[in-house]
């Protein structure tokens, strides 16, 4: 506790220094607050944004980061407080006004029109013209170039509907880089990105800084924050805790400031492996176009990781197993074959799947929490044909408690929860069917560090109860930190397996990328 | 003293002929309301059979009706509801499309649809000397349409007149235009066309004119639309005759009903308007240039 306080004091010092700034502030938020009805989401936040500086905003899920960013970029208006641009008072009633003032926001959510192409989305609302006609050729070329800078190789003609989440995120980032903005705000840009894409993005952000732009950067990946940030502002419960010089803060310091107290270790201690009998057996599973002849077993009380690069086909493999895509092959649960043609049958058999796309496929954003919670467990939860509303409310209360879902009112709709809390609600939803095998696709995407630890501990407790847990993740450290065994996929095929001491980033990366190691096990046992 | 209330319930203007009905009913109401201070004539139109049933309920719910003049949208569906009005002591006049139970009406006034079909057929037999290829356009599936077709078909039975084709064009000139174009494409030799309503005949004539075909000798309609009667007067070669089926019959019916109520001139029974052939000689009697129909 004492360390937190000392850091907080240092924060005040930084703030005091800034009261007399040498460089003038580009954008200043003065005592801004945001209320939704009786709910206060952001209260009395004051912040200066200086040119040529990368300013990270960190805080727990639901701390109000996204709300603050939306406020700075004209998507919502504050209920109290003011904004000043170059010392002049400004009001942004619409995002365009903020954009005209040189402020661009990359949203946490993916906001693209799925029915349009990549290039069309990229230039939406500011199409290039030539001889009075939209200049598709040039736009396609620029789109290809801009995306290539970010390491994204999708065709500009592809419909957004048909590209992966990661590619969508890159398209969205590219939108904010098309023009020379003075302030670029990134809200969780890397949540769905992996490897080189993240590196490329960070390089681009540093370049923006070199060019004198101000960058606001939100991420739950504290290592990124540490590498990038000149300043770090911490929000907690809608209030500003302080602004700190970036390099003075370690990751654990940041975590403490966000949470307000000390945190336990991120990864739970690994148990001595009690290798249970086979729980899930998958044989020769193929998902046309995505996965070929995949066979594996997951055991009772085991955490099994699936690693691979974006596009390796992991998501589609499990969507195939879940009956959500046409697939061939056999799946057995504790020796009993499962009908993988019907999602319902798979769920009922006891395999739960937590999608990586929580907004698009996980939750009904316009629906209240209780119906969302019980949607996949209707039959288990409401035996007979009637709904048991009070049971449902009890379950919601229990879930809110158990999964520590932060909300201000039980009456909110799922879409009004912050990203991290949506993820916890989704977790609660999937576990409500009491599956014996739980598949979690990207369990901590966009999740703050404290919640991450919670989720890991939670996964641990699931296997202690005797379930098998499969974790698909693009964060290798996470897999290594929690898994008993990791399977690696590349181009739709299983390329190998690592376990025990062989679970190193080097080995996994080798299997995921190179042909040399293909079809072999790297130091693992079979 | 209390005003006598006469309600007039008719279909909405859904094609030329019913438009004529609405026009004449409103004209009659205006004239009578002006002429007889103690009579109130109320005209209500309905776009469907069930709407008309509703209108009957509404008209009789608020006030006691002394008389009802009704042109039923369809026969079956209006029989019971009209009987309910009758049972409340209202004088019932039925026009054109009859009810299923003729004991309900006090007065019935109608055209002769069988005769419309029969007289047209007879003329065709005569002109074509008993042989030739015909195409027929029929209206909206209703009893009226059925009767006309039946009158026509019965009359050509046993002759060498052959009906090549018969299809619905819903008493709509646009649909008739298309249908006639298709008939023309389908049959290389057509001697005569019969559309059982003049709205449709307009479309037919346009299609024939466009095709430039010379084989079609006659294109006949029915209903006494003023434009067609004018053709007859002018001695049009393709449309030399016409059958009347004047929408003004509603006006006659309203006047007769009012006469019964205020004039103490008992009028009960059935009035069947003839459907004689209108030819160049008598066409003037059937020509009313100011009527909308």
């Amino acid at each position: 506790m004492s360390s937190v306080l000392s850091i907080e004091r240092e924060g005040e010092r930084v703030a005091a220094q800034k009261a007399n700034p040498l460089r003038h502030s580009l954008l200043r938020a003065e005592g801004v607050s945001k209320q939704y009805g009786p709910v206060t989401v952001l209260s009395d936040v004051t912040l200066d944004i200086l040119p040529g500086e990368i300013h990270a905003i960190i805080g727990e899920n639901g701390a109000g980061k996204s709300t603050f960013m939306r406020l700075l970029s004209g998507y919502i208006e504050p209920t109290a407080g003011t904004l000043a641009l170059d010392g002049e008072h400004v009001r942004f009633a619409k995002p365009e006004q903020a954009q005209d003032a040189g402020i661009a926001l990359v949203h946490q959510e993916i906001l693209l029109a799925e029915a349009l192409t990549v290039a069309e989305n990229l230039f939406l609302g500011r199409e290039l013209m030539r001889n009075g006609v939209v200049d598709d050729r040039t736009m396609r070329r620029l789109a290809t170039e801009k995306l290539a800078e970010l390491g994204c190789l999708v065709s500009p003609n592809a419909l957004v509907r048909n590209i992966t989440l990661a590619d969508r995120q890159l398209v969205q980032i590219a939108r904010a880089l098309l023009d020379d903005y003075r302030i670029v705000i990134f809200d969780e840009p890397t949540a769905v990105l992996t490897g080189e894409e993240v590196e490329r993005l960070l390089a681009i952000i540093l370049q923006l800084k070199e060019q004198g732009a101000a960058v606001l950067y939100i991420s739950h990946r504290l290592d990124e924050v540490q590498r990038l940030a000149d300043k770090v502002t911490v929000l907690r419960d809608g209030k500003k805790i302080g602004t700190y010089p970036g390099r003075t803060l370690g990751q654990m310091d940041m975590a403490r400031l966000m949470v307000g107290r000390d945190l336990a270790a991120l990864y739970p201690e690994k148990r001595a492996k009690a290798a249970g009998e086979a729980m899930l057996t998958v044989r020769d599973l193929s998902v046309p176009g995505f996965a070929k002849n995949v066979s594996f077993q997951a055991h009772k009380s085991e955490i099994l990781g699936f690693a691979g690069m974006i596009g390796a086909g992991r998501t589609e493999l499990f969507e195939g197993i879940m009956g959500l895509r046409p697939a061939t092959g056999t799946v057995e649960l504790e020796g009993k074959p499962i009908n993988i043609r019907s999602p319902r049958a798979v769920l009922d058999a006891g395999i739960g799947y937590l999608t990586e796309d929580r907004k698009g496929k996980g939750l009904l954003l316009h629906e209240r929490l209780a119906p969302n919670l019980t949607l996949s467990a209707l039959t288990r939860f409401h035996p007979g044909i009637f709904l048991r509303r009070s049971r449902e409310q009890d379950a919601l209360r229990a879930a809110v408690e158990q999964y520590d879902i932060r909300l201000k009112s039980f009456g909110v709709k799922a879409g009004q929860l912050s990203g991290g809390n949506q993820q916890k609600l989704l977790l609660a939803k999937v576990l409500l069917i009491t599956p014996s095998v739980v598949v979690i696709d990207e369990p901590t995407r966009g999740i703050d560090i404290a919640n991450k630890a919670q989720i890991y501990a939670f996964i641990q407790s699931l296997v202690t109860e005797g379930k098998a847990c499969i974790v698909i993740s693009s964060e290798m450290q996470e897999l290594i930190g929690i898994c008993d065994r990791i399977l690696v996929m590349r181009e739709g095929r299983l390329r190998g397996e690592v376990s025990g001491d062989a679970m190193t980033e080097h080995n996994v990366a080798l299997l995921a990328t190179s042909d040399a190691a293909a079809d072999g096990n790297v130091g693992g046992r079979k | 003293a209390d005003k006598k209330v006469v309600a007039v319930s008719i279909p909405a203007a859904d094609h030329g002929w019913t438009a004529g009905i609405v026009y004449h009913a409103q004209a009659a109401a205006k004239e009578i309301n002006a002429a007889f201070p103690n009579v109130e004539v109320i005209v209500k139109t309905s776009p469907s059979a069930s709407a008309q049933v509703s209108a009957l309920e509404d008209l009789s719910a608020g006030r006691k009706l002394d008389a009802l003049v009704i042109l039923p949208y369809t026969s079956e569906e209006l029989t019971t509801p009209v009987k309910a009005v009758k049972d409340a002591g209202t004088f019932i006049t039925v026009v054109d499309r009859g009810l299923n139970d003729s004991s309900i009406q006090d007065l019935y006034l109608a055209g002769d649809n069988i005769a419309v079909g029969r007289n047209t057929a007879k003329f065709l037999i005569d002109r074509l000397e008993g042989k030739g290829n015909l195409v027929v356009l029929r209206g909206i599936p209703t009893v009226i349409d059925d009767e006309r077709i039946k009158g026509f078909q019965d009359a050509i039975q046993g002759t060498d007149l052959k009906v090549l084709d018969i299809q619905y064009a819903n008493w709509n000139s646009d649909e008739a235009f298309k249908l006639m174009q298709d008939y023309l494409a389908k049959y290389p030799q057509i001697d005569a066309v019969w559309a059982n309503d003049d709205d449709m005949l307009l479309g037919v004539l346009e299609a024939v004119k466009q095709s430039g075909r010379k084989d079609i000798k006659l294109a006949l309609g029915g209903n006494g639309m003023k434009d067609i009667v004018k053709k007859v007067i002018d001695g049009d070669a393709m449309t030399p005759v016409e059958t009347p089926y004047p929408p003004a019959m509603i006006k006659t019916a309203i006047y007769m009903t009012v006469a019964n109520i205020v004039g103490q001139a008992p009028v009960r029974g059935t009035v069947k308007l003839d459907a004689p052939l209108i030819t160049q000689e008598n066409a003037k009697e059937y020509y009313f240039p100011d009527s909308p129909f």
Binding site: S342, R344, L347, K361, T374 | D58, E76, T80, I140, P141
Partner: protein
């Protein structure tokens, strides 16, 4: 498992969240009644109101079914001609059986109606779901098919119900129970069952989920095909119930029976607060919507201001104004 104490108290969800969408149609209803009273005091007479509500029963019953279809993200344009077709089959069946079975032909015919309705709805549903055809087109197609069938069955004329059955059947439309006309009771019962299904049964949840987001529904193990097909089957059954009540009122099926009902039905659903693109259904709002439509027509008949030619226009204006009031009084 929780390593953090949850801090601030969370506001409980109010048990009844009554939004404007729920109340709106009823407010519109009341405003219309007031206007009606000002125009013609007879408007509020028990007979008149009874008549109006009774006759809104057909559309209301069918529209309750449409609430399922629309809420699940579908649309059904075939309801009007389906009603005509079912009426036709039912009458033919009753007439055929009347000589042997006498009055018992009536309940038997009602059973036939329900079975046929269910079947027609199922057909629509399967074409839309298994056939994956845009509902608008699919049901436009079946609309033509049902219309053709009734025209064929009636030879273009009409299929009247046998005289021997008429009197026994009459009370289904004209009878009252405890002073309330039977069609009102039937439609309230249908709406009650429907709102029970939609709000108290699992199926209702599925329906709304499928309409709100197909992917989420699928990932939650809800079968889109089954859910939507059932919605169409419910629609078909409702059409059958409406047809059963309809027979004694008009005594016959004709090729023009039920023409344009689909538009009225959809209008009632939308006025009632259910969004055309799917999601939550508002059963009672739908019923209010159906009554509103009938009231407007009734007002037109009772008032003497409007030229007969302009009735449709005034109705259009009233509908638009009613919706505007709903929107802007939020």
């Amino acid at each position: 498992m929780t390593i953090m104490a949850s801090s601030t108290a969370i506001r409980p969800e109010r048990e009844w969240n009554i939004g404007w969408t729920d109340v709106g149609p009823f407010v519109a209803l009341i405003v219309l009644m007031l206007i009606g009273f000002l125009i013609n005091p007879d408007f509020l007479s028990a007979t008149n109101l009874g008549n109006v509500i009774t006759r809104s029963a057909f559309i209301a019953i069918i529209a309750v079914g449409a609430t399922f279809v629309i809420s699940s993200g579908g649309l059904d344009l075939s309801v009007g001609s389906m009603a005509a077709f079912i009426t036709g089959i039912t009458i033919l069946f009753m007439n055929r059986m009347a000589p042997e079975w006498g009055i018992m032909a009536i309940p038997a015919g009602m059973m036939v109606a329900i079975v046929v309705g269910l079947f027609c709805g199922l057909m629509n549903g399967l074409i839309v779901t298994i056939g994956r055809i845009e509902p608008f087109i699919a049901t436009l197609g079946t609309m033509g098919i049902f219309r053709a069938l009734i025209t064929y069955m009636s030879d273009g004329g009409s299929i009247p119900i046998d005289r021997s059955l008429r009197d026994a059947y009459r009370p289904v439309y004209f009878g009252t129970f405890a002073g309330i006309p039977l069609p009102i009771i039937i439609s309230v019962a249908v709406a009650a069952v429907a709102s029970f299904i939609l709000y108290k049964m699992k199926y209702g949840r599925k329906c709304a989920a499928v309409g709100a987001n197909e992917d989420v529904a699928r990932y939650s193990g809800i079968s889109i095909i089954k859910t939507r097909t059932i919605a169409y089957a419910i629609q078909g059954t409702c059409v059958a119930v409406a047809a059963i009540c309809y027979v004694p009122r008009l005594g016959a099926a004709t090729p023009t029976t039920g023409v344009l009902w689909e538009l009225q039905v959809i209008t009632a659903v939308v006025i009632g607060g259910t969004a055309l693109r799917g999601g939550k259904g508002h059963v009672w709002g739908t019923v209010a919507g159906a009554v509103i439509l009938e009231l407007i027509a009734n007002l037109m008949v009772l008032s003497d201001f409007v030229s007969e030619y302009l009735v449709a226009g005034v109705q259009g204006v009233i509908i638009i104004i009613a919706m505007l009031i709903q929107r802007f009084s939020k």
